[in-house]
């Protein structure tokens, strides 16, 4: 892994995630990546569900995702991310890396923070993540 990631998670394809072409369906990569972001947050000390209960909802605004290669039945992979802040936007750079070390899917996921349903600057969340930014 050439890039600098601040979090990574070992995962494995589950057969119910495959489609009739026997490759992982495109929507499931978003699931992998969401799970990775949530685990990252939980590890950083603040589970998403606690944020939600505290009135702060992280909402995905934009995803740019490239599918380079496919994942198949039983494949193990690494889901890795780094985090960048641009004003009120938190941008997760996320890669899915196969067992041979190739990036098979890469995405930029832009999140914003809503406080009681309204767009916030995300200062509390930025504080929590400052060591990763």
């Amino acid at each position: 892994m050439r890039k600098r990631y601040c979090y990574s998670l070992e995962m494995e394809v589950r057969d119910y995630e495959l489609d009739t072409e026997a490759i992982v369906n495109n929507a499931n990569y978003l699931h992998y990546m969401e799970h990775t972001r949530h685990k990252f947050c939980a590890d950083a000390g603040i589970p998403f569900i606690d944020l939600h209960n505290a009135g702060i909802d992280a909402v995905v605004r934009k995803i740019d995702i490239e599918y380079i290669e496919s994942l198949h039945s039983g494949e193990k992979f690494t889901s890795a991310l780094s985090l960048e802040r641009k004003g009120p936007r938190f941008i997760f750079h996320q890669d899915i890396i196969n067992a041979e070390g190739r990036i098979v899917t890469t995405a930029c996921v832009t999140c914003v923070m809503l406080r009681d349903g309204k767009l916030s600057r995300g200062e509390e969340v930025a504080q929590l993540f400052k060591r990763f930014l």
Copy 2:
């Protein structure tokens, strides 16, 4: 609907598509859009599964998706698309439009055609869709 779409489909949020924030989970929009592309293909006379059986697999290479507003329990919406061809790439411009007529999610979905696992120019598929291009 201001834009020119070549296909649209009436759909409705299903509660299992919601997450704990009571909004449709981001991955499900890819499901809505995939279903719309497949229905469009079927209506244009060639189901995806037949293409697959004929050795041609349409593979998604890139998705740029913006989440503008959220969909909630029971909401009805329209999933619409237009199609553009750029060399070997088929680009679906896809919008999810709520009952008030606002675009709540918009995406560019870039597909390529594999013939027996190898990248093709997609000429057969382009022929099939020529009246939409």
Copy 3:
């Protein structure tokens, strides 16, 4: 349809619900059936999400499901149900019927009602559904 149903819904297989055997994955039938129950409740005048906001959560306790035939890409089907009450239990008898009129999947889904997290007799809910019982 020989049986007496109190609600039915026209649906269609979506390709992302298929697995590598090109048949609908077993878990998706639970999605179809849940969606049908929720639509039934909404049509009966009380959306599940409103019940939830009122502190009443319908929770599934038991599902006995038989898979008789498979559904394939693009198939249209009818999802139908009838409702029975046994003490605190609400039992949905649910069938998935294909376009030829054959029952392809049949299930008994037993629900109970929690009020503020505790098991209730479900009297309010039974009132709402009394014309179906």
Copy 4:
């Protein structure tokens, strides 16, 4: 774990599996259990996808599932199974056990083996699993 299981797998709830009640949606337990069966088969030396390519499809005929307690965000759990054969039927007894050791979901999953689309006695598969039966 009181019971005798022949296979178990450590898993963890992913937030996209939760519904608006913040508990794992009922259909996802079938996903957990399917993944466990497939991992068990792979570990026993024969991946499901290889069976499929060899013309043998394991098809789920019946699932009786009881939901005793709910799983929540971030919970770790064990998915365990034992296997029984009754004539042409392979019955998986599957439990989901939470971190405190309580069975939160229990199911009987009945599978049959199709060879080239027709019901078989499943002798080849029984051979493969004989040490577990």
